[in-house]
Symmetry: C2
Subunit: 339 residues, 2 copies
């Protein structure tokens, strides 16, 4: 294999980040791994650009930003979308970045299984199918003898899955405690520093583009709970699904509670716990100056191991290019295994 043909499904912030990351790093990857990356298709929910000879990464991003879709990508734009894209062009790896769907895991679940059945490797940033049907997806990859990697589904740019599997492979993992949602961490940090009320802070965060127009997934702890399930399955071998997580969000936290905690040198954080006895996302008191004292949109996780003690990692939990960098690392790892 001296070429890897890529389909990007989902062309929002993360999908565009993949295109930009490939544009920035394809020369490095050619030098390092000896393989040329070529995007042969990129698709959003209603349109796509498809070309077996390769698409221009920067042009894809420009067309999408100008038009809101890919219909007018020169000569290659079309209304082919969804699973049909996987039949429209020969490819090696699906980079799946469609929106997380915690109700029925679609379109990620069907797209991923289709790619596996076609014998293709898949890299994803999606949480829905992993939170609802982790075993089904991972088993399907194994049965089809393809690779499936999902570092970007938890922690964005913060390595945690490959980190634990590869650089702590000698250790048993006892539990993982962390802050896995950047938006709620931003809101709580800001309520602490400004003394502001929840509703006001949420509104400001929405205006800054940090919280979404419908902030439910973040503020109700749903996003962090999905990540909790993914870590439970992938790193602790716990056969759990989304409904196994006890979830409480941050919408009941008021400025009085934060002030009271602050007086005693504590902070209120939305903490995810992944342990054999407990899968839980809830607001908790953490000591100021502890490793949980990270501000803004940062994510962090402390991995409790049997041999190495506690190892903590922190990094940006979101961001277009940042999340794409985790997906590109997954892709490089797949390419290295092919060589």
């Amino acid at each position: 294999m001296n070429e890897c043909k890529i389909i990007i499904m989902g062309f929002g912030a993360v999908g565009q980040g993949i295109a930009r990351a490939i544009s920035l790093k394809k020369n490095m990857i050619r030098e390092k791994v000896g393989i040329d990356l070529k995007i042969v298709a990129a698709a959003d929910s209603s349109s796509s650009a498809i070309n077996i000879d390769g698409l221009d990464e920067e042009l894809l991003v420009d067309v999408k930003n100008n038009d809101g879709n890919l219909l007018n990508y020169p000569e290659c734009g079309s209304d082919v979308a969804g699973a049909n894209v996987l039949d429209a062009v020969e490819y090696d790896c699906l980079m799946e970045a469609t929106p997380t769907n915690i109700v029925d895991a679609e379109p990620a679940f069907s797209l991923t299984l289709k790619a596996f059945n076609q014998g293709k490797d898949v890299v994803t940033s999606n949480k829905g199918h992993l939170a609802l049907k982790f075993r089904d997806v991972v088993n399907a990859a194994r049965e089809n003898n393809v690779e499936f990697k999902y570092e970007a589904s938890v922690g964005g740019a913060m390595p945690i899955i490959n980190f634990t599997k590869e650089t702590l492979s000698s250790c048993g993992i006892k539990s993982i405690i962390g802050i896995l949602n950047g938006t709620t961490n931003y809101i709580l940090s800001r309520m602490t520093s400004e003394g502001s009320a929840y509703d006001v802070t949420l509104k400001e965060s929405q205006e800054l583009g940090i919280a979404e127009t419908d902030p439910t997934q973040d503020v109700d702890g749903i996003d962090a709970a999905c990540k909790t399930v993914i870590l439970a399955n992938s790193l602790l071998g716990i056969d759990a699904t989304y409904s196994d997580v006890k979830v409480e969000g941050i919408s009941n936290i008021n400025s009085q509670a934060i002030e009271l905690a602050n007086k005693d040198d504590y902070l209120i954080k939305l903490i995810a716990e992944v342990s054999p006895d407990n899968l839980q996302v809830s607001p908790r008191l953490v000591k100021k100056g502890s490793s949980y004292d990270v501000s803004g949109t940062l994510n962090m996780a402390t991995i409790h191991t049997d041999l190495a003690g506690d190892i903590t990692v922190m990094g940006l939990g979101a961001g277009s290019l940042e999340t794409a960098s985790a997906m590109l690392t997954d892709l490089i790892s797949i390419l290295k295994n092919k060589n």
Copy 2:
């Protein structure tokens, strides 16, 4: 390969930690990788125990702790030591844990080159040969087509080398800033919390076994400077050696300076900087509550990347079993590549 025969050279805290870690994890490794680990020799500076059929890990540690050497290991104890051990028994991998020597890198340098010439893989926790002759050692491994891994040489149990190479492989590394010496961090943390003088705190740390009887390597910044060189070479591709690092230790830090910093919400930390423009170990002011605000013997490092932003990792910088866990992870990685 369904068996890996191991020689442990150096049987102090880390060497004994390797034996204990193998004892604890050999079943897991057999299940995971399908390879049986067998210690065929363990040696300190004057004695060894050698048996092609395998030595008992716990008994090795017991004999060493009781006698101070391995001469009386039942039936297998001997005065064979040094490089001769590598000729005395057939083996697959050298786990090298002799003391760091920053003057002439011995015995690590000769032992390592001899193992390479014998076609054997090497895992090390040693800093001396890497700080003085990084390129020579790495090139010799390449020329002999063997594997050479050295995660434990920097940060003890805190993953940083494999972490950066493997889980941030899509990123360019711009610089690394960190606290790479646990002893000095302990002394400075304690001076801060107790308001105590440097000499008093050093003496207390020695009594607790945290600082060594001759604390020079730690307090003069030599240990952190070695690690700076190793990170510069391995992660930033800088062809540097120990003498390229600007080094200043902590022995001139007095309690007044710490108090003054403290009043402005700053701490004094011994910071290592690894960047293309600057290889430096020196006391610096860091903001309280920042990611540099780690106390006790913890190590930490912030990796500045081009795609993923800043990624921070922290963990125990020393410890027998903790450091051995990093070496065992290196070994597992080598074994996986053989399969």
